[in-house]
């Protein structure tokens, strides 16, 4: 992509003011995205995006400049711009580049262009036709297809040279149902780091039907209750709760600054003994998987919590250097326009001992969360909030009425300690996760069915009666 001699010159320029490490991140992106609504394929977009970022580390300072022009002159200009962040003199030797290979294979069996754009559009039309034909209450269908090929080259002044190809495909759909002035929605997606073989493993038609069933069922939902109760969360995508409420607080940038609730807790009990939690960037085909992270570090499997004991945080290069240790390969960036920061990859809670049906039967009065929407957590306090997109009351061990308009509020570290039942039914999500931390990253998550004895459910149905504080 860029000649080795150019890289060496760029490093020398970048390090001339006293930097410890210089890095060039080159990226070539090609994308296709299709959107359908109103039964029409309304948007068809192709994108080409190419550029490079030069990063220089000076102690705890990371300086960055990027360019969308890969000429030697532009790269040198970016190097000078990044170097200008400090005023020292050159002290770091540039080491010759050695290409490193990853043992991980993420094969693409059927390349993107093995299907025509019209074939891909046809998938969206099928989702639409299926949904509209399945129930007369369906009032709108939105469906989208995205593919993105990212080729990255990472070089640094310590001799690192890696290249990685990342192929991402995803399909998303949202169904709206309407009755008597009430609108309900259901949405889902599937995807991964694969080629067109994605469609061998996932059936868009089945997904479409399922979404209609959920949206229509929710039309008859009653307002969710408000107040504390026992909550059972479904397997698979339910793992988003751990991701937001605890996972972020185990990212090294929050930890090393002391702003995380988990700072200084390695070796201590932070969760119920039923909980083992893992971040694994090496699983083939998953959205969060990486051969090398965006610092060029090989991706790895990191046990975060083992039977309730905090084992490890998630590290990128900058935070690892700061603490004089190895990175866990969790440095990720949205594109060459961004600096890498510690991020999750594929993060999950492992299977436990309880029969999932038994978990529901064990609850006298509570909420069963079949689908969670998005969520948000406060790193410092550990509080989290999630939207319940498909929920049912549990009464005497049975699922009864569907409820709408609920959020879940709790405290991550507290909920993790209190989880008292963990199912045998571990599953990863279908491949729809996207995480925002100032930059977007595709992630995967998972868990078995879990029971949390007490969370605040934020509905509108005040079941306590009108009393004061």
């Amino acid at each position: 992509m860029i000649p080795k001699e150019t890289a060496t010159k760029v490093f020398s320029a970048a390090l001339r003011t006293g930097g410890d490490l210089a890095e060039i991140y080159v990226e070539d992106r090609a994308s296709l995205s299709l959107r359908l609504e109103e039964s029409k394929l309304e948007q068809a977009v192709r994108g080409a995006d190419r550029g490079a970022g030069v990063r220089v580390l000076f102690g705890n300072l990371a300086a960055y400049a990027y360019t969308d022009d890969l000429s030697k002159e532009s790269l040198l200009e970016a190097a000078h711009a990044a170097a200008a962040a400090a005023g020292g003199s050159s002290k770091t030797q540039v080491i010759g580049l050695t290409r490193r290979q990853s043992p991980l294979k993420f094969p693409v069996l059927k390349p993107f262009d093995s299907l025509s754009v019209a074939d891909k559009a046809q998938t969206l039309h099928r989702i639409d036709e299926t949904a509209r034909g399945y129930d007369p209450h369906v009032s709108q269908v939105m469906a989208g297809y995205n593919e993105l090929r990212r080729r990255v080259w990472i070089f640094n002044s310590e001799g690192l040279y890696v290249q990685d190809d990342r192929n991402m495909v995803e399909v998303r759909a949202m169904v709206l149902a309407q009755k008597d002035g009430i609108i309900q929605r259901a949405s889902q997606g599937f995807g991964g780091q694969t080629g067109m073989e994605l469609f061998d493993a996932h059936d868009p038609v089945a997904m479409s039907r399922e979404l209609v069933e959920v949206a229509v069922k929710m039309l008859d939902a009653r307002p969710a209750p408000a107040g504390e109760m026992t909550v059972v969360i479904n397997n698979g995508w339910g793992g988003v709760l751990f991701h937001e409420a605890c996972g972020h607080a185990m990212e090294a940038d929050y930890v090393s600054k002391g702003s995380s609730a988990y700072t200084g807790m390695v070796g201590q009990r932070v969760a119920s003994p039923l909980i083992t939690a893992v971040d694994d960037g090496t699983i083939p085909g998953r959205r969060g998987s990486l051969r090398f992270d965006d610092d060029g570090t090989p991706s790895s499997r990191t046990v975060l919590i083992e039977e309730g004991i905090l084992e490890e945080y998630m590290w990128d290069l900058v935070e690892a250097r700061r603490m004089n240790r190895e990175s866990t390969g969790n440095g990720r960036r949205q594109s060459f326009r961004h600096m890498p920061i510690p991020r999750m990859t594929n993060t999950y809670i492992a299977a436990g001992p309880h029969d999932p049906e038994e978990i529901i039967r064990s609850v006298k009065k509570g909420l069963y969360v079949k689908r969670l929407g998005g969520g948000q957590a406060d790193i410092a306090k550990g509080d989290f909030v999630f939207t319940v997109t498909e929920g049912y009351l549990i009464e005497d061990g049975k699922l009864t009425a569907p409820v709408r308009g609920a959020s879940l509020m709790g405290n991550g570290p507290k909920a993790l300690s209190e989880i008292d039942m963990v199912g045998t039914d571990f599953a990863l999500d279908p491949g729809q996760g996207r995480c925002g931390k100032g930059q977007w990253a595709r992630v995967s998550l998972g868990q078995p069915t879990v029971r949390i004895p007490r969370l605040v459910v934020g509905g509108t149905e005040d079941i306590s009666g009108p009393i004061g504080m």
Partner: protein
């Protein structure tokens, strides 16, 4: 240097020669980002980038392609790709480009000509001052998180095959910090924020103090019992709620059944305290522009007037569908995105009460200074549920911190039950630019302990 306006016109001419309508946009952006931690610069980014997007409309079928590579070969590939993609799209008779209209020649005051002369060192000093002010607010503010200064200068060049050609520049400067409060009871985190088109409008002291104050005042917060009653949302929180509400007030949401306000045009949808406006021509409006993302002059639209739903915002497509004129609300956040209908400077008109007067008027209720939600406020279903922290109000006084509760209502009830609107309108950069004052809402369910 390339004349990008001429370049867009040239691309449009060549593409349209294939018998289609064509539009080209070039966006040229310079950005600075500085993040400090413990008086040290932690991240420093200074860069520029540009890109081209080409939209083709071929018999009502839309194709779009973009590139960051402005060499002639890549440009040709880009408009060819847009042409090819249009062929797979479904035709829609209302898809068309707008005819050129005269753009009012008024200085919107959206370009800070001083910004380019402000040194990186001065901006670093500013970010450090924000951190100092946060920590100086109270000894219980123990650290900051993401103490950030950012600015952006963007030049937009737009041309279409109906003869429109125009360009403008806009600057935006934003600084924010999260203050982390700590006492024996635990940690809290809260944001302070300043944003403007002009560097000199930002005040490091104000931003830092806000973060410090917000973090400290909720320290030791406990849940209250579940109950229904009065809630006062401060201006920043109101802005966050309005950013979701704004999505229900577009013609697209109405035409496609994606709004809880569908079928309510002309009706009383809110209390008489509620007047909502969208103004793309607001002087010093964060996202103001002489013309919108497809070359239509921007305008001011009264959406809800004293509670009555009067209008929604339009782009060319939705306007043609309803047989009205576009309100000039097409947004282009990047050359990578297709034109998208959305709010510009969207705001709830300020009232006459100060926030203190509003709090003093409440016998018993919750003053919310921080909410957490992702999709809990839903412009489609009208559900509205979020996590909240703040202060409990007893006899008009703020008596103790509250956290770990939810507040929930329906968006339709929220609008109807706004009984007081503050005079403290502020602008927050959520989903464009949202202006909001403090509001008091009745009949909100507060979820907490049994």
């Amino acid at each position: 240097m390339t004349d990008y306006l001429e370049l867009t016109q040239d691309i449009v001419r060549r593409t349209a020669a294939r018998g289609v309508e064509a539009e080209a946009i070039v966006m040229d952006r310079q950005e600075t980002m500085i993040r400090v931690d413990r008086s040290q610069v932690e991240q420093l980014l200074r860069s520029g980038s540009k890109g081209l997007g080409v939209r083709v409309i071929d018999g009502g079928r839309v194709g779009y392609a973009y590139t960051s590579d402005l060499t002639s070969g890549s440009i040709e590939e880009t408009w060819q790709a847009a042409l090819a993609l249009a062929r797979v799209a479904t035709p829609d008779e209302h898809r068309a480009l707008p005819d050129p209209q005269s753009i009012p020649d008024k200085d919107l005051e959206i370009w800070d000509s001083d910004l380019s002369g402000i040194s990186t060192e001065e901006k670093i000093t500013f970010a450090k001052q924000v951190e100092e002010a946060t920590l100086a607010y109270d000894p219980r503010v123990v650290m900051t998180n993401r103490c950030t200064y950012e600015d952006e200068s963007v030049h937009v060049y737009l041309a279409n095959s109906r003869g429109f050609a125009g360009s403008y520049g806009r600057t935006v400067v934003v600084s924010y910090v999260r203050g982390i409060g700590r006492d024996e009871g635990g940690q809290t985190m809260a944001v302070g924020l300043g944003v403007s088109n002009f560097y000199r409008d930002l005040d490091a002291q104000t931003i830092g103090q806000e973060a410090g104050q917000r973090a400290v005042q909720i320290l030791g917060g406990q849940p209250v019992k579940t109950q229904t009653g009065s809630v006062v949302f401060d201006a920043m929180v109101t802005g966050e709620i309005l950013s979701y509400l704004s999505m229900a007030l577009t013609a697209e949401a109405m035409q496609r059944g994606r709004s809880f306000l569908i079928g309510k045009m002309g009706q009383q949808v809110g209390s008489d305290k509620v007047s909502l406006l969208d103004n793309g021509r607001l002087k010093r409006g964060l996202v103001s522009a002489p013309f919108d993302g497809e070359g239509v002059p921007t305008s001011a639209t009264r959406l809800i007037d004293e509670g009555v739903l009067q209008s929604v915002i339009y782009d060319t497509y939705t306007a043609r569908k309803d047989g009205v004129a576009s309100t000039g609300n097409t947004q282009r956040t990047s050359h990578r995105n297709l034109p998208q209908l959305g709010p510009s400077n969207f705001y709830l008109q300020a009232g006459t009460f100060s926030p203190d007067e509003i709090i003093a008027s409440v016998d018993r209720g919750l003053y919310v200074t921080r909410i957490m939600q992702t999709g809990g406020t839903d412009p489609i279903t009208g559900d509205c549920s979020m996590g909240a922290s703040g202060l409990w109000i007893e006899n008009g006084q703020l008596v103790r911190p509250v956290s770990g509760v939810t507040v929930a209502t329906r968006l339709s009830n929220l609008l109807q039950n706004i009984v007081a609107v503050g005079d403290d309108l502020r602008v927050v950069p959520f989903r464009g630019s949202i202006g909001a004052p403090t509001i008091r809402v009745e009949g909100v369910t507060i979820g907490g302990t049994r």
